[in-house]
Amino acid sequence: MSADASDLSLVRRVQRGDKGAFDALVLKYQHKLVKLVMRYVRNPAEAEDIAQEAFIKAYRALPQFRGDSAFYTWLYRIAINTAKNAVVSRDRSPVEYDLDRNNNDESYDMQGRMKDSETPEGLVLTDEIRSTVNAAIDALPEDLRTAIVLRELEGLSYEEIAAAMECPVGTVRSRIFRAREAIDRRLREVFEGGLGRAEELG
């Protein structure tokens, strides 16, 4: 299995003129990119603007992307440069961010910062999405929950998860898929319900 084959196949489609494939790349990496940019700027809305700018720069530079590095590595580099330039041009100091800090640390008041720019509806929806996904994960059978958490939280490959769970790779793939399906069923209800209609999926 070649790493990054999925991104590369989407990238090649974009390079051949298929803009729809770029949507898939944005959907996949938008949260990671915003999170990354938030190491440099304080305001989440500003971080989204910078991430948007980074995606657009990446799109325009895609003809020069040869696939020597992974797409996300290349994209992250663009995002970091865009964020640094934004900080310099707006004469702001980057947020001091301890990379080793536990993201679950409740004292880290990112939510507090969000409130400055977020609409109440947006905050409610974000909270609702989060609580729905967490509830769905809690309701998963143990083997499905372990598989999806090892994948998403620890970033393990299917082979590594198979070794950790002492099962075939095919079983890991099936467990992760079934976990996602179970969570997605609940999540879809949020988006297709009242609040979800008001906002784009993003």
Binding site: S9, K35, Q52, T126, R188, L201
Partner: protein, 209 residues
Amino acid sequence: MNEELDSQLSAMFDDELPPAECELLARRLSRDEPLKARWGRYAIVGAVIRAERGVRLNAPLAGRVNAVLRAEPALAGHTAPRDLRHDRLRWWQPLAGAALAASVAAVSILWLRAQAPGEAPLTAHLAPPAALSAAPAAATARGDSYVVPVPKQPAGVTVPSTELANYVVAHSMFSPPVARRNLLSAFMTSEPATSGTEEPQADVKGIAQ
């Protein structure tokens, strides 16, 4: 939704799908909006599990990027820089084509008129290929000159009007239909009865080229 397809989508999201399957699914993903929405929700699930707390999970970022890029040309038609010189040349090309066609028609008509009504068959005093190839060498030997040397003519090579008509038809793309029809009818009306004396067609082809 097809379960196998969704299973592939999940594996593709994790970069765990074989490249050949990725190609096919990427094609579908780029066009299938419900599939794309599901792909987007997979990303949200990942963001929640990783507790990316400062990130708005419902942010319309993809929609905003899409809106900006919608106004831009697709990359495939954008990779090579445009040749502005080509743009400048393009406007006169139809005019040049028409002028060329008109000149060919005018020369042909003048040439036909030069033939006396009773003078048949249509003839052209054409040099044989050997004489043609010798001409540039002779010109070089005499130094630079803008005068095309007239080679010594052997006996007149007869080019029957049928051959000329074929030539005109073969090059019909360079002349407007009306002029072509006039020219052809002129050839046909002047067609002599001595068609049996035609020279081999290869000679005419050689000239035409």
